[in-house]
């Protein structure tokens, strides 16, 4: 998820041996869980992104033209779910950012109990499927906490993504050279001042792309909340399909809308990443 942060410490080539470094085989394998961000290097018109994105747009325009009967109806009803989809996504990402910052700071804290709490949070949440967490908060805890569908949805998504964000914040903060904190301390700043004035402003730059990536993942995962009686995009599609039995057509439109949104945002994040890389070269 945070392949941008170069989590693995780069190992220096072994000093022994007479071979020049360039002659050594380079095992530069980038194993990730599949970034959602298209490579911006591909400038040709027939790039995978162009085919997918414009293909989806053409499909969503052509289908209602060819057979207006179900498709126009679907397009009139289903997009109303976008409000819930985006509502849940945006509110959740905001809470997840706060939780992630706290978790990330906790993970690097020198105070043992704080560190332990943050680490347990991250480990536990990352070890339970999001769907199970949703069920747990809605069905198991819902009656106790008196939570409605949307509130449970936001709570579960925030807690879940907060754990992943925590790891991004941790890696981001740790990617800032140690000398930055030392320079700040040597000037008489407190650790807190150094963190807010020196470390975090630089961290934000580093973690923006992976955070964007999380946003897209959360947008997609928000479809899970349709089972909690939240009228999101997927739920609107299901409702239409179950009354008209137009399953193929309904879910085709739902899939196309998700596809267009995620492809659009992934391109946006990709552009942002390129800009940051070009502007934010660090020399020290």
């Amino acid at each position: 998820m945070s392949d941008f942060l170069k989590l693995g410490k780069r190992k220096a080539p072994p000093a022994s041996g007479s071979a020049a470094p360039s002659a050594l085989p380079r095992f530069n394998i980038n194993v990730t869980d599949g970034t959602l961000i298209p490579s911006t290097g591909d400038k040709s018109i027939l790039s995978a992104w162009n085919i997918s994105f414009f293909g989806a747009i053409v499909a969503i325009v052509i289908l209602p033209v060819l057979s207006p009967k179900p498709y126009l109806e679907i397009l009139a009803i289903v997009p109303s779910g976008l409000v819930a989809t985006f509502g849940v996504t945006i509110v959740s990402i905001l809470f997840a950012l706060v939780l992630g910052l706290l978790a990330g700071l906790g993970r690097i804290a020198k105070t043992k109990p704080i560190n332990l709490i943050a680490t347990v949070y991250v480990e536990v949440i990352r070890g339970i499927p999001l769907l199970v967490q949703l069920f747990y908060i809605y069905y198991a805890l819902g009656p106790l906490l008196h939570l409605k569908g949307p509130a449970s949805a936001v709570m579960a998504m925030s807690i879940c993504y907060g754990a992943y964000m925590g790891e991004i914040f941790r890696a981001g903060i740790q990617s800032i050279p140690k000398g930055q904190m030392e320079a700040a301390l040597a000037l008489g700043m407190s650790r807190t001042q150094a963190l807010w004035r020196i470390i975090l402003p630089q961290t934000v730059k580093v973690i923006l792309p992976p955070i964007g990536n999380e946003f897209i993942a959360l947008l997609k995962d928000s479809s899970l909340v349709s089972i909690l009686a939240v009228a999101d995009l997927l739920r609107r599609g299901r409702e239409y399909a179950s009354t008209t039995f137009n399953y193929l057509q309904s879910f085709t439109i739902v899939a196309l809308i998700y596809l267009i949104m995620t492809l659009f945002f992934s391109r946006l994040v990709g552009l942002m990443e390129t800009r940051l890389r070009n502007h934010g070269q660090r020399h020290n």
Partner: protein, 244 residues
Amino acid sequence: MDKGIIRIKDARKHFGPVQALRGVDLEVSKGEVVLVIGPSGSGKSTLLRCVNRLEHLTSGEIWVEDDCVTSPHANIRKIREEVGMVFQSFNLFPHLSAAQNIALAPLIVLKEDRASAQKSARDLLARVGLADKEYSYPEQLSGGQQQRVAIARALAMRPKIMLFDEPTSALDPEMIKEVLDVMLDLAKDGMTMMVVSHEMGFARAAADKVVFMDEGQIIESAAPDELFAHPKEERTQRFLDHIL
């Protein structure tokens, strides 16, 4: 007798099984410029970093004026305000302009008002010969310029002591002079300086005392001309043969 402004007493520092400092005693008087030389791994940087407690001594004491740096009750932030430090890798804050780098600590640590902090930042930039770089970001500056901004940043806290940790080691030869010139000016103005460096020219021109360290101990110390010309110890001689 005049009491030193920095007093290091039997300083010992272990990094796991490695003994970086094995009992160092050193006094630096007010206004004195002390150059610490020695092979890499001799503990000279560690010694410097213990003075403002970026590293903690394992045992021993370090005093800065009337404050015991190594005491757990020391107000270390107060001490650090009075001890400026310049690093080998500059460590400028890349998200701030040159002037902001200099003004930040006076603003948030000394609580100076914005106008006067900005004015002294400009004055300091002029003093290190970078009056036109106020709005430049570190990545737009050469190594020598970055290091001069870093010196100005430390001076902005109006320290009584300046620590220099290999300030020219990361610089191209043609940039070393511009940094050393700034340091020479500082020395002339009577700043107390502790410098880890192998710049012999600077030592001859500005240092009152050169300290040779090896394997975590001070082998000998003397005035620069004396130490370079007539080292008493064979180890010092061998080291000088390598770098002179």
